[in-house]
Amino acid sequence: MSSGEQRVTRILETLRSGDDRAGEELLPLVYDELRALARARLARTPPGNTLQPTALVHEAYMRLIGEEDPGWENRAHFFGAAAQAMRDILVEQARRKATLKRGGGRRAIDLDHAEPAIESPVIDMLALDEALRSLEASEPRAHQVVMLHFFAGLTMEQTAQAVGVSERTAAREWRYARAKLKKELDGGSLPGVGAGEEGEL
């Protein structure tokens, strides 16, 4: 059992006993794990390729929690933290790219800290971050659904369970949130993510 895994297990134990403060410890832990994981994966990935953020979250879950079933409530805590961590990472990545484009901050990038290219949605992450903030203020539940479904990659069913609503309600929140975010982002140029051609063998 890795030390990270032990710590997460302990934090989840604490959460189970009803101490919500333990949740705050979870975020940095998951964040570090996700970044480390992304770096490690990328080292073995040919240049130009990217990693799926949600797949990373799931792998982090497997590493930190493993086979043990921590119960739904705790799983919800984990994915809540993971979603936030993934969003932070993507925003950082976007911010760094923006800085690079403007030609500044070159010194800040050295090889050790070269961030893994996690496949960012083909949208303006910074604008999305902004839009999410305003969504969180006006429709906290819709925001929560986006975090869990989009950034942590939970299925709609799992998202609904984590939020504690029916699947139908979760789907409704998701649909509204998507439209609302798109509307906010539409001010800028938004190429949209191609659905991608999926050919399965």
Binding site: R41, R44, T45, P46, N49, L51, Q52, P53, T54, A55, L56, V57, H58, E59, P121, I123, A137, S138, E139, V146, H149, F150, F151, G153, L154, T155, M156, E157, Q158, T159, A160, S166, E167, R168, T169, A171, R172, R175, Y176, R178, A179, K180, L181, K182, K183, D186, L190, G192, V193, G194, A195, G196, E197, E198, G199, E200, L201
Partner: protein, 860 residues
Amino acid sequence: MSGAGADSAREIFDRAVELDAEGRRRLLDERCAGNMALRAEVEELLRCDDEMSTGFLGADAGAVAAASGLIPSEDDDVGATIGRYRLIRRLGAGGFGVVYLAEQTEPVRRSVALKVIKLGMDTRSVVARFEAERQALAMMDHPHVARVYDAGATAQGRPYFVMEHVPGVPITAHCDGSRLDVESRLRLFMQVCGAVQHAHQKGIIHRDLKPSNIMVTEVDDDAEVKVIDFGVAKAIDTTGAGMTRFTEMGQVVGTPEYMSPEQAGAAGTGMDVVDTRTDIYSLGVVLYELITGAPPFESQSLRPGGLLELQRRIREDEAPRPSVRASSLGDSAAEAAALRRLEPAEHRRLLRGDLDWIVMRAMEKDPARRYASASELSQDLERHLSSEPVLARPPSAGYRASKFVRRHRAGVAAATVAALAMLAGAAALTVGMVRAVSAEASAREARDAEIEQRRLAEARLIEAEEARRRAAQAAEETEAVNAFLLNDLLASVRPEEARGRNVTVAEALGNAAERVGDAFRDQPALEATVRNAIGNTYRSLSDYESAVMHLRAALELRRKVEPVDLNQVSFAANNLAIVLRQLGRLDEAIELYHEAMELRRAQTDGYDADLVALLHNYSAALLTLNRWEDAEQVVLESVDGHLEVFGEEHAATGMTYTNMGRVLRGMGRHEEAIEWFSRSVTIMRSVHGDDHPATGTAVNFLGTAYLQSGMNEEAVPLLEECIEIYRRVLGPEHISLGIAMQHLGDAYLRMQRYEDAAPFLHESHRIAHSSLPPDHTIARGADYYLGQLKSATSLYEEAEGLFLQCYSLTPEQRYDTRADLALSLTTLYERWEREEEASRWRERIEHYERLQAGGTEGDS
């Protein structure tokens, strides 16, 4: 929450996304009237929503993540060339290997999809088998068939296939992504049938039809089907029986749910059992999933070691019918229905019947019993869509019963036959017209009874659904029960036995009831099932005493069965309680509801449709007894449960809201009651539309609640609307119409608008007295209100006659009603200036008020 503007934009948006373009326009016209900013905001949101169903934020990030390998494959060779093809990028990966988008330069320049099969196959024989079929494949020329161009071996010796590049998504993903309704799904599926039919005519069998091989591309707003991978399965399938789906570890790597029974049976035997009817089976499974929301046998439950178990299930287990499957989807039922723009109950109803039988025919275990061709399947769907009778037929008891009846038509009365066929088929019985419950029922109770009847009808549907589900689980049991019903029940109406008499349902039932104990000696579970069916049939015939006898026996039997099936016990208890309630034996009913509820709770943590129906019935019984505090507890739970199971936009939820309102009204909390009644009205309007008795009833409750709070101005338009609805949907003689008219007349009397009140009170009086005995509470109410009108408009003699008649028919113990009448008469004689009579009646007021204060039973 932000300001009111944003809130209502959200609300309107949530409703609008469920509607088509025309519905959206109407909703916006109605809800955004005069508020252009709001309208613009909602329209913008809807536009964004439309654009996004395929793009922005992905359709389902989770699913994509789950399906994609996190680690790119080691020999990911984008940019490399294979044969004449240059790999451009990876399109996806699956159990067999990797698919690339590739560019062909010679002899023509085009984009193609190139599939490289993973190592472990005998490349030479794969390519050889492909070559053998290449001629036939080349002859396929159909808009919905993707062409297969080439096959070969890579430098590493792995086989690859080159085919038309189809930029699209699997048919299931397309349908759900676009939230296609069932008809659109059927239309799309018929394109698939066309493609498969074409291939079959050219002698090509697909062998591996499944959603991921049926792609949909959008061409100029039209959805086009392309069936891919023709010829591939055969080439790589060494056994001809789908064995390549399993690796040497025995792990299921493909999608075995679509495999036919003959493929499952021959797996590993090396026999090639596949013919065109194998594809028909797989088409049936795809159709099943498209309309239901899930395949018949779930693969998630299949463990790696469970391969044999899977094969066994595909070979032997009868798949649940789509409508049954849809109702057993649990939490995802609502989502599955919503993806088809339906409510869960509508979804089940839509699948029941034709579509059930069409799918099951395509999926027959015996290939000879399936549709002979894909076009035959397609034609049956076309018949269904144009409401013509379909070829597929239910192999049910009801069907056998109907054949029996055809053979013996002469001696069997039509009604008898219908009832027996329903009984045998466990079909839902339509609940008859509203009956006045008992002479002493209050006006309110009569209205409750009407709601109850409807509730009952719904409960019957749930019950029938339940019966079907159980039947599907225990085919053996069904067989035994049906055999009994056919032999002992229908046999008794054989022409030779009936000897020309008109055998009634009751008679036939009586015969069956006598024999049931002997027929199922030592088989308590079967006896319980039959007794339940008999009891419910008695109930629908309004023979409540006999119904109670059989339903109670069924309950006792269920308690005795080892091991005890708590669900069955609770089911039986609920059935018995329904009848006891109709008999007015409320205390017994409540006890049973309580028991049934506890049993249900011991079974499951959450709510399900059964439990919430139970809660609703339970609360209704408590309400009838005016046990407000107890009722409140149960209704609160019932509301929670309904919201969880059905969501807010559902008729059943609306009815629990009504019950909540009734509880609060009973507790004197009128303002809160009005709130719940209004919410119920909103729901009923949106679920049933304005022209529905349930909407009328909800409107009536709201209107009378306003009336009781003295808010006459608010009450009038609602009561008027209720009368309009009742007149249209229930007809001009219906007692509910009479009651609603009484309320409206009452409102006008309170507002001293006597001319407006007159027509309603006269008409209500006529309706009540033409269909009810004069001492019925509603008939007496009609006298009372008409009397008030006459008294107020100086028609003293008429008023006197009405009041006195009413008084003499009112039971002595109804102190409150009698006090009220004494007051009315006192006022009348005062107006009439007949002091002597006035003072006599004044004394009676005091007399009855004293009795009332004495704490004896009151008539609220």
